[in-house]
Amino acid sequence: MTGWIESDRWAERARELRDEGWMLMDLCGLDRSGLGRSVVNAGGAGTAGAGFRNAEGTGGLYGPRFEVVVQLLHALKKERMTLHVNAAGDPPTVPSVVEVWPTANFLEREAFDMFGIQFEGHPHLTRILMPDDWEGHPLRKDYGVGKVPVEFISQPLMQIDSPGQSPETVAAERSVDELGQSGPPLRTVEEG
């Protein structure tokens, strides 16, 4: 089973689900910015995905970039349910369900840490995996893996290839690229 739900109905619905016997198994963020204007539509947790459903087919439910994806388990019925909670606003905001399922404590903190999703009413919403003073939210799609500045770049070495060369001329001949790698200038293919 897969369902979508608006964030303002989530706290209330979570209580109902808990009373029906559903356990919270997982809660994570999802940045949909790379998925375009379509909704992930699976045939239900544990079955093959049925592809994407168009935004038109969702009855206007589809909207914001961020979602909180919740995995629920009903142990007696042996059923699983996936719920997508729309996280609208800037910063994206969703009510916290820690009061309903205490296990959401760490899970919501991780979704906040990785996606910057605010959980209203969470008792202690701080970064959990990244350092407290970290900037940005790493699992967002616009946070590239290659954007971390490189530290401790080695200084170019002065190497004299043949006897009689002076260090100054060697230094002038060698180019240093932006990563600090030294080496002879790249050769171009000679004509003829």
Binding site: M23, L35, G46, A48, G49, F52, T103, P123, H124, T126
Partner: protein, 411 residues
């Protein structure tokens, strides 16, 4: 539920680190870890103590965070196995298995019976090797140092078998979407039978060492109690939950891979203390042996992975003869296969509980989002509930009984 909400209130009022200023003369704030022999890795606990009594306990994690979920988004579906296998490093086969099941669900492909049996065999052996490490470390934490030697001695036997099959002792990259990477080597059967023969005797030795040991009983009975309602509210799974009387095992209740064909029991205790968790894990090891024997006897012949050339590179012998085979090989090596757009959540019963993988595909050759629900991460939240009001020594016993693997917690 009551104890769990108490902890949350506690956090709400004070927040981590904030209460250091309000400490009076009798109270002491201590950082246990991140480098401490009894925290099983780089777990840091912020403790507030009144003498020897734990007043508050907050796990602080993230010291081993390496951004594996992000890294997977840059890999193709096949090579992401090499990353997920490194998450819970004591149970690598389970990471691979959960991930492969998720990708297979998205692809809609079947695993041939031999592939399923090999996976299940490796998983059960892995459960043994993981529980051996748990046995060794928890015995050491309780002061029974020889337990450490015993546990690691048996683990070595199992790891040697893994090395024989996969070439590596850990991080095997062996279970892949569609089956397993290589067939079992020719001499697998006698080695496996030998393991199934040795281990039960060794478990007897373990029980002789600890089960009726008065010191051990004193340290574990009635210590670190987690009630079944707390276990449910805090999302505890695996031996943690089964020791509290929660009768739930994905192997039996969901029956993925070959478990549907096999006959086994799910050990259950109701005390919810450290000793109950010890008993559950010991009984689980015996059940694993039972499963391994059935898997050896029932091992089917045939393909060990799905031989669809859109998923698996063709055999090397065909590359010399068939242009088609060369094309498939080239496409799979350079680009990888595409996975139909969609989402899926699949879970397996790892030695620590429910290990779930939530995968989203946008129809491309790499995961759009890959989320791993690691049992250690969730189970660790039970620690404050289990330890508040107890002694520091009981806290050590409680950590050991959770059996957290920080590689899985921090990912």
């Amino acid at each position: 539920m009551s104890a769990a909400t108490g902890v949350i209130k506690d956090l709400e009022e004070r927040g981590h680190g904030a209460f250091v200023e309000n400490v009076d003369d009798d109270r002491m704030v201590i950082n246990m870890g991140p480098v401490h022999p009894a925290t099983h890795g780089v777990l840091r606990l912020l403790l507030e103590l009144d003498g020897e009594t734990v007043i508050s306990c907050e796990p602080i994690i993230g010291y081993l965070h390496t951004g594996m979920e992000k890294e997977c988004e840059d890999q193709n579906w096949r090579s992401a196995v090499t990353i997920v296998t490194r998450m819970d490093y004591l149970a690598p086969f389970f990471n691979e298995q959960a991930y492969s099941l998720a990708v297979e669900s998205l692809l809609g492909v079947e695993v041939p019976p031999r592939g399923k049996y090999i996976r299940t065999l490796m998983a059960e052996l892995n459960r043994l090797s993981s529980h051996f490490v748990w046995f060794g470390t928890q015995a050491l934490d309780m002061g029974a140092m020889s337990g450490m030697f015993y546990g690691f001695r048996e683990r070595e036997v199992v790891l040697d078998f893994f090395e024989m099959v996969t070439g590596l002792r850990m991080n095997h990259n062996y279970i892949i979407p569609g089956g397993v990477w290589e067939d079992l080597p020719a001499e697998w059967e006698p080695v496996c039978r030998r393991i199934a023969e040795i281990v039960p005797n060794r478990i007897d030795e373990y029980e002789e060492l600890l089960s009726r040991n008065p010191i051990y009983l004193e340290r574990t009975r009635g210590v670190g109690v987690l009630s079944s309602s707390d276990a449910g509210a805090l999302g505890a799974t695996g031996p943690m939950a089964r020791a509290a009387g929660v009768d739930w095992d994905l192997r039996r209740d969901v029956a993925y891979d070959a478990y549907g064909d096999l006959d086994f029991d799910v050990p259950l205790r109701t005390d919810g203390d450290v000793y109950a968790r010890y008993e559950v894990r010991m009984a689980e090891m015996r059940e694993s042996i039972r499963l391994i024997r059935q898997l050896i006897d029932g091992m089917p012949s045939g393909d060990y992975k799905n031989m669809d050339t859109k998923l698996t590179p063709p055999p090397r012998s065909e590359l010399n003869r068939s242009m088609e085979a060369v094309i498939h090989h080239f496409k799979l090596v350079t680009q990888g296969y595409t996975v139909p757009a969609g989402e899926v959540y699949r879970a397996v019963e790892s030695p620590r509980g429910e290990l779930g993988v939530y995968a989203v595909s946008d129809g491309g050759t790499s995961p759009y989002r890959l989320r791993v629900r690691d049992p250690s991460f969730v189970n660790l939240q039970c620690l404050p509930v289990m330890t508040l009001g107890g002694l520091v020594a009981d806290l050590i016993a409680a950590i050991a009984s959770i059996d957290p693997v920080m590689g899985g917690v921090d990912r």
